[in-house]
């Protein structure tokens, strides 16, 4: 009997951790209980990207896009939508609060309207644990083409025409990387996938691997054909257990189908892939450190050149690309380089996936054509800043990027433009800040990350990150001095020029760029001992205005450290020595008697 309905349940890590698994199992149980088990196919897919609204369940053909679904909604989804063809209004996606829900084609939801999905083409559509579903969406067609129809040179040519640049951050043309390795004569070459995603808040690679693992296997195999390698390795963080599991399933299925392993599709070409689990050091995302880690050594970068393309894993020529780069390859080879080159800007082709987080209404994964403006991403796709707050800045490139102010919101985003406005693409983290964010505090967060994640090998990074952190600490404690700013700039410039790897060279970027755009905020901390956003606790003081205080004792009862004293019906006083600046009194006071200074 033909299946009548498809129910797609998000199986990404974020939705799974919000009981996505229970939703999936309940749907199966309910379909069985309500006697429609044969009419409906329930599929656990990859990430839909709209993580703000997760867990997401989509029912086809009704186009019911259910958001923030709970396990107990399963019965109704089956009884209403599957059996009666009606929407469950309660959980139906609505563009605004109070608006009427309706059946939406996903493309009509504004979150998706400006998106263009190449990398995430299968995420949220197919069951990543079923190779047939990938194949049904043109999966492995590019591999077949590369095995039988076109030569390695033609693969390179197609990539060259496409203009694809590496998505790991540096934006190096992919065809050149492959071509370097292809041209080196060697009996042993390797294909490596960098899945050591580590930027705070970034998860595009994880979602891609969870939602469409075969696309990476296919691309790596194609790279193997192209450069003459028979061995591949995916270096993935051990903190990504679901992605690892899906990759293992995918590899097993691909081997079973003759798409991986010996004599692929009878072509005589052998290629296999191993997973290597990383322990989560950020620096292992740097390619030479990653290769060292695969080799079983301490993950520390080495100078380049020689580049891995020539001398990489176990000193053999190695193609190393990031997950997102690989995810583009099958699409490019199926649809053609020219098709890809039509998308994007002159020097940055195709799309880019961003992890949109921070002070934004619709946080989630967005894939947009290169050249989309920040304004479109933040205010249209992202829905703007919540709670009517004012936009302050966007941080791109994670702890290695810079802040972008409203002045540059209309800059079309691509590799080169981001650099020209003082930031960088990085791997695609995009963190939105609003007026409540303190720039010094935000930078402390990033620098703290870099201090933790510096490998400690080179002096500029090891010492520089710590020194910069020391200055930021002092600023947030009101102990800064004006000349510290110049010292920070000196350290930052020295790190940019003299640190060994990308981590150290870019670690001062957030500080250097925020000093440029928000220098006044630093000065406010230093000269006035003031944190306008109220984030730097040492600079914040809660005070009770005696005239306004009616002595209701609410503040005293809310205070977790019992530092507010006063008799009933008489003005209370906060002991500044004991106050931990948690703000509980401020939140609790109904008479506006407590002020923050």
């Amino acid at each position: 009997m033909a299946v009548k309905n498809y129910i797609l349940v998000c199986g990404g890590t974020a939705c799974e951790s919000s009981k996505g698994d229970d939703i999936f199992n309940n749907l199966l149980k309910e379909a069985e209980a309500q006697g429609v088990a044969d009419d409906v196919q329930i599929v656990k897919t990859g990430c839909f990207g709209f993580c703000e609204k997760g867990p997401i369940v989509k029912v086809l053909p009704e186009q019911a896009f259910y958001v923030e679904v709970k396990p107990e909604d399963a019965g109704e989804i089956i009884s209403e939508t599957v059996i009666k063809g009606r929407m469950v209004d309660r959980i139906l996606y609505k563009p605004e609060k109070g608006a009427k829900g309706d059946a939406f084609d996903i493309d009509n939801i504004e979150f998706y309207q400006k998106q263009y999905r190449i990398v995430l083409r299968n995420c949220g559509l197919i069951n990543p644990e079923d190779i047939d579903e990938y194949i049904a969406r043109d999966g492995y067609a590019a591999l077949e083409k590369c095995l039988f129809d076109i030569t390695p040179d033609q693969i390179i040519e197609e990539l060259k025409v496409s203009g694809l640049r590496g998505r790991g951050g540096a934006g190096f043309p992919t065809w050149m990387k492959w071509n370097f390795t292809k041209q080196v004569e060697s009996d042993q070459k390797y294909i490596v996938c960098n899945a050591d995603e580590g930027d705070p808040g970034a998860y595009m690679d994880r979602s891609t691997l969870e939602g469409d693992p075969h696309s990476i296997l296919e691309a790596m195999t194609i790279a193997g054909i192209c450069v003459g390698a028979n061995m591949g390795a995916i270096y993935i963080r051990a903190e990504y257990p679901l992605a690892i599991e899906r990759l293992e399933t995918a590899m097993a299925q691909a081997r079973e189908y003759g798409l991986l392993g010996k004599d692929i599709l009878g072509s005589g070409f052998d290629f296999d892939i191993e997973l290597r689990l990383g322990a989560g050091a950020f620096v292992c995302g740097e390619e030479t450190a990653l290769l060292a880690s695969i080799e079983g050594k301490r993950g520390m970068p080495i100078p380049k050149p020689p580049f891995p393309a020539v001398k990489g894993l176990f000193a053999e020529p190695t193609v190393i690309n990031n997950v997102e780069t690989y995810a583009n390859i099958p699409a490019i080879l199926t649809k053609g380089g020219e098709w890809f080159a039509k998308i994007g800007t002159e020097k940055s082709k195709g799309t880019k996936v961003f992890a949109l987080t921070g002070k934004i209404k619709n946080s989630g994964l967005v894939e947009v054509p290169m050249g989309t403006t920040l304004r479109e991403i933040v205010f249209e796709i992202g829905g703007g800043i919540p709670n009517g707050k004012k936009f302050k800045a966007v941080q791109t490139g994670g702890p290695s990027g810079g802040v972008i102010t409203d002045k540059y919101l209309d800059t079309p985003i691509d590799f080169d433009n981001l650099i020209s406005i003082g930031s960088m693409m990085g791997s695609g983290g995009m963190i939105v800040m609003d007026e409540d964010d303190c720039i010094v505090d935000v930078n402390r967060f990033y620098m703290d990350f870099c201090v933790e994640e510096s490998c400690g090998k080179c002096a500029p990074c090891r010492i520089g990150t710590k020194k910069l952190m020391g200055y930021l600490d002092r600023f947030t404690q009101g102990k800064g001095e004006v000349e510290d700013i110049q010292k920070m700039k000196d350290i930052g410039e020295a790190m940019k020029k003299a640190a060994l790897c990308g981590l150290g060279q870019t670690a001062p970027n957030p500080i250097l760029s925020s000093l440029e755009h928000f220098g006044h905020e630093y000065m406010e901390h230093i000269e006035e001992g003031k944190c306008a956003a109220g984030k730097c606790k040492d600079l914040v003081h809660y005070k009770i205005i005696a005239e306004k205080c009616i002595g209701c004792t609410v503040c005293a009862r809310k205070c977790p450290v019992n530092c507010i004293e006063g008799e009933r019906k008489k003005p209370h006083v906060i002991d500044q020595e004991k106050c931990i600046k948690c703000g509980a009194c401020f939140e609790g006071c109904k008479f506006d008697a407590i002020i923050v200074s």
Binding site: G456, R462, I463, K497, A498
Partner: protein, 583 residues
Amino acid sequence: METVEIKINGQPYEVEKDTTILKAAKKAGIKIPTLCTHSDLEPWAACGICVVKVEGSPRMVRACATSVVPGQNYITHDPELKKVRKTVVEMTLSNHPQECLSCARNQTCELQEVAAEFGIREIPFPMEVKRLPKDESTVSLVFDPTKCIQCGRCAQVCQQLQDVWALEFLHRGYDTKIAPAAGVLLNESPCIKCGQCSAHCPVGAIYENDQTEEFCAAVEDETKHVAVQIAPAVRVAVGEAFGMEPGSITTGKIYKALRMLGSDAVFDTNFAADLTIMEEGTELVQRITKGTGVLPQITSCCPAWTDYMEKYYPDMIPHFSTAKSPMMMQGAVTKTYYADKAGIDKKNIYSVAIMPCTAKKYEIGRDDNMQASGVNDVDLVLTTRELARMIKTAGIDFANLPDEEADSPIGAYSGAGTIFGVTGGVMEAAVRTAYKLVTDDELGDVNVNAVRGMEGVKKGAVDFKGTEVKVAIAHGMANVKSIMDEIRDAREKGSEPPYHFIEVMACRGGCIAGGGQPYGTEDDIRDKRIAGIYTDDEKSVVRKSHENPEIVQIYKDFLGEPLSHKAHELLHTKYIERPLYQK
């Protein structure tokens, strides 16, 4: 040599193809500062001060690790480079204790030199020095992590050059420190005390355990008869500390200086090197001709190698020559033969050895066999660096000292004894005597060139009148593996041993580049010291151990013959398997 044309600061230069910018600049007479690079090691690229610019590129590259590209113009010095380098040096200094005056490396510290060159007058950044406990667990070395600048040289030396892996990077970021794995102490680690870490450290983070005060105390003690021996390699290196050219032979000056320092008798370890050849050479000949032991026979005079073997290759114990090292033999005969001859109670003799080596400090107490005389055969080992320091403290104008002679009856040496100080030297000395023992003829040309040179592994065969003696030599501990693998392989297959005799020295170049030698040892200096040693050999009237008259005398008067019962008691030892990590 293939060359390419490049420019440095706009000036054209023809340089070796694929050489690094740093090396090319050095040849052009331009010094690019660096704290981590060392010519013995692969570029590590940690310190960050050797950055240079490539014309046309906005980036700076590390001169130590970047190969020259034909046609490129490298800017090595300009205001921006100076600023970046200076900032990095200032950052490094802000984490480094400002205790130069009381530091072991005062005036030989590379960081101090760089700071002086940059004219740093104050450190603009807040000082932040992590005080970490010293590791004084070995008698050989003091490891002071508080002073470590994490240049990585010691770990690289320990891992790449020596294949010991006692030192490793622990933790990461600002907490990174160099120490034995799992944070154990050096004496609980696989450390072989070779001291190459201390010889390569640019600062005072790891240095020899200074025992000069013990020498001074012994000299002051009226009841003690201080008898000193000096190792072959000391004589061609100690002069460097006094501005003399590396390789200058200063044997007579050292004898004189030691007497000025209060020594009662001055002997020479070269005498015992000759004695070692008599014992070890006879042992080898018997293994070959009489089958008294397994082949190949492996030399045992290097204490770091012995320690390494006991930890990493305990299956080689039967291959090891039971002969003690020359230092220990000298100590044993000092407290027996010499004591008897001089009529001094051995208990009152204080036996001191001046060595190029930090492992020797460990060797004197390695087991009971080191007290063959009934008391400590050697009471104190001082390195070449410590000797130089004592001479300076005593205000002695070393370079202008007159030459003196060593004392009898254990001070005379042959050329064969002196070449113990270089790689291949023990082998060559052994060949000179073994040839006589096997063939009963004297070797015509005593120069055995096949075993000389700086090649990490040297293999060859020597013709003993129709008997081919196959030999192999390794120096630099990491080079021993291939030879040991060959032996194991033959043993497993039950085939003929690939060699008859193997010489191993732990340090690259041999003892002339030992861990206790003057700082700044690189291959050009090794070459000069080696040349000095061979000159000393060539100038010797006697060039074979068995022809050293004092050797002939000691067998006649005291030992009887090589491998005699007495010789065994005093001059031979045994080995045991030791764990890599003590628990």
